[in-house]
């Protein structure tokens, strides 16, 4: 038999094998989607039976956020961040992982946990523009602002990493008559996430939340938002640790479901 004919036969066999494998893969995808739809329908019924409304559109279709390595403090970056708030200042290591930054406008403590505690008195002509510049430079997303026309009020932002929101790393700037009086919250450097996830998915997180609310007696009537992100934790062995988590917002409170352990905690 000629070589070219043999090759044609091999090509035909390979094409058939590929069609077979593709069919298997597609059928797996269809089965997964069907199973997922069934799980979502059951979840909505489960919530309805507990008297909690769960719109189907809120059920996350994505996996949990991938795990991140522990953030590493960058004193230079912290100093630059603090000088944006305080103005010119000098830093002093006072032990325990705490840096005290002091300038003529006030002082700021930066803790190993990422906590920021600034008390100052600095004139800011346009609080909104100042906040926007600060937030965009250091990776925060503005959440809410109640600054009045006289330049008094709070502006709150939350830290956004390239891979997701850090739910409990908020930063609050307090203004009074166009003077910045305090900045409290958390600051952490950028962290590149690991490539893969591995945490519990959104459906499982919602089941865990329902179990928690039944067991703990927490009352709510509707889930209003579900999103994946991170929780910032501070422990003795790791001052800053980012835990993949799901944030479940209800009409009463916000809850976090640890995507690694399934543990549910209520927003403090």
């Amino acid at each position: 038999m000629k070589t070219s004919r043999l090759k044609s036969i091999v090509i035909a066999i390979l094409a058939l094998v590929n069609v077979f494998l593709l069919a298997l893969l597609v059928s797996r995808g269809v089965q997964d989607r069907a199973a997922r739809s069934r799980a979502e329908a059951q979840l909505i019924r489960l919530y309805a039976a507990s008297g909690v409304e769960l719109p189907a559109a809120l059920i996350p279709k994505t996996e949990a956020k991938p795990a991140c390595p522990d953030p590493v403090r960058k004193p230079d970056l912290e100093a630059a961040f603090v000088s944006e708030i305080l103005g010119p200042c000098t830093a002093q290591d006072i032990g325990g992982g705490i840096y005290r930054h002091a300038g003529e406008n006030g002082q700021c403590l930066m803790r190993a946990s990422g906590a920021v505690e600034a008390a100052l008195d600095r004139p800011i002509s346009d609080p909104d523009a100042f906040s926007e510049a600060l937030f965009s430079a250091y990776g925060y997303a503005a959440l809410r602002s109640d600054v009045q026309s006289d330049g008094s009020g709070d502006i709150v932002a939350v830290r956004m990493l390239p891979s997701g929101m850090v739910f409990n790393a908020e930063l609050t700037l307090h203004f009074f008559r166009s003077r910045l009086l305090s900045a409290t919250g958390f600051f952490l450097p950028d962290v590149e996430p690991a490539e893969s996830g591995g945490g519990i998915d959104g459906v499982t997180a919602l089941v865990r939340f329902l179990d928690y609310s039944k067991g703990s007696g927490e009352v709510c009537t509707a889930v209003t938002d579900v999103r994946g992100g991170y929780l910032l934790q501070s422990t003795a062995s790791a001052a800053q640790r980012l835990i993949p988590a799901w944030c479940v917002t209800t009409d009463v409170n916000r809850y976090y479901v640890n995507a690694l352990t399934g543990e549910v905690s209520r927003e403090a």
Binding site: S8, V17, N18, L21, L25, G96, R100, S237
Partner: protein
């Protein structure tokens, strides 16, 4: 026409080769994405490879000496405005301590304005809002510094037995510390009082009291005796001497030749193995003793020192832990080692370890330690350890009610009542109140 046909045939041949290559690669790609069956849990090869990579990346980091981090049992009490909750069967690796450790680290690291105070002042601060930690042994400051990643004020505190962190004003919290000799100090610290108050208020669990708060009936006990409304359940332990079945393993791990001719058995049943200037004694009661001299740098008995050839206490403890953990690897069952004593002076250090099961210490009835390591210069020159394996059973025996135990312990003035397993050498090891 022939050159044209050849050219066409070559082109067809090339296209066929390309098609075979592409189809083969596509088949491999599709196969790798298809779920496997059976024991491989319905996951594809790619998913299994990703999981393996993730597991390797998540593998726990070893300490600088290659051993697991040092661990200590802890008793902790959190007093908030509304409640006092406590727990006594946790370790420095437990979640409860990990979260509290952030505040303790900040407090110890930023401590300033030290002031020597009396024990009465320390006790007077205990009922107030605060975070109390009892390390159950006097922890050398150097080791505590390593544990919390901060610098403990060693000028005042060479060791730390108890800590109390109390919210004071908005800016700072007060740190009370008691060392191994019972001396007490008060420091100011840069801990945020509001954050500490929030942390204390968020704690939940069974209520706790200190004995001195409970009135005259308990006045003969140590004031630090912890009375928990909901003590952690402790199960009976099964204990077995596993030395006889592990002699060759121990010899190999201890860098001795198991097939040496210098191995003989005494009439008492003790196996003695000599090698060079070192000797290992394997005793029938499960005890292993070692006597040796200067160690080579690549030996398990060598203690690396970063500075000037004299190991710090932390380096000595790390080397001792590596040795004991290597020798007892997988031989202690459900029990875990913890560092129970460390002292150094005149170029000699003595490091002792004990065992705990589920955070509850195991004490030997003769008062000895589970392992003791002697370090001279940069060499481990002697050690003693017990090779016993413990298994937690399902049965949880009832402890004597605290009041009765306290009445009995009242005979020993100032004794602290704690719960520990008492190993008298029998197969069954029960939890009991011990006064120490």
């Amino acid at each position: 026409m022939k050159p044209f046909t050849d050219k066409k045939a070559r082109r067809v041949n090339r296209l066929q080769n390309l098609a075979i290559l592409l189809l083969t690669l596509l088949a491999l790609f599709l196969s790798a994405n298809l779920p496997l069956f059976g024991a491989l849990s319905d996951r594809s090869l790619i998913e299994l490879a990703q999981e393996r990579l993730r597991r390797e990346a998540d593998a726990p980091e070893a300490g600088p000496s290659g051993a697991a981090p040092l661990v200590f049992p802890v008793r902790m009490v959190c007093t908030s405005e509304f409640a006092r909750v406590g727990t006594d069967a946790i370790t420095t690796l437990s979640d409860e301590f990990e979260r509290a450790g952030t505040f303790l680290g900040e407090a110890l690291g930023s401590a300033y304005a030290p002031k020597a105070i009396g024990e009465a002042d320390f006790l007077a601060a205990l009922p107030d809002e605060g975070l109390y930690c009892d390390f159950t042994v006097a922890l050398p400051s150097e080791l505590l510094s390593g544990l919390l990643g901060v610098s403990v004020p060693e000028a005042e505190l060479s060791s730390v037995r108890r800590l109390l962190l109390s919210p004071e004003d908005k800016e700072a919290a007060a740190l009370y510390a008691q060392d191994g000799a019972g001396r007490c100090f008060r420091f100011s610290s840069a801990v945020n009082s509001a954050a500490l108050t929030d942390f204390l208020a968020a704690r939940s669990g069974g209520s706790a009291d200190f004995a001195f708060m409970l009135g005259d009936g308990f006045s003969r006990l140590s004031p630090y005796t912890l009375v928990l409304s909901d003590p952690a359940p402790r199960c009976t332990l099964n204990a077995v001497n596993v030395l006889s079945g592990s002699e060759d393993t121990i010899l190999r791990r201890a860098e001795f030749n198991a097939h040496t001719e210098n191995r003989f058995t005494e009439s008492s049943g003790t196996v003695i193995v000599r090698e060079g200037g070192s000797a290992l004694y394997l005793r029938p009661d499960g005890t292993v003793d070692y006597q040796g001299g200067a160690a080579e740098p690549d030996s398990l008995y060598y203690v690396a020192a970063a500075d000037g050839g004299v190991p710090t206490l932390s380096e000595a403890a790390g080397a001792a832990q590596t040795l004991v953990a290597t020798l007892l690897q997988e031989l202690t069952g459900d029990a875990a080692l913890y560092l129970s004593d460390a002292s150094a002076g005149n170029g000699r250090a003595e490091i002792s370890f004990d065992l705990m099961a589920d955070g509850t210490p195991i004490r030997f009835s003769n008062g000895s330690h589970a392992a003791t390591v002697v370090i001279e210069g940069q060499s481990i020159t002697a050690f003693t350890l017990r090779v016993r394996s413990y298994t937690l059973t399902e049965s949880a025996p009832l402890l004597l009610p605290f009041a009765q135990a306290a009445a009995i312990a009242g005979g020993w003035d100032g004794a602290e009542l704690i719960v520990a397993y008492v190993d008298a050498g029998a197969e069954e090891v029960l939890p009991a109140w011990i006064a120490e």
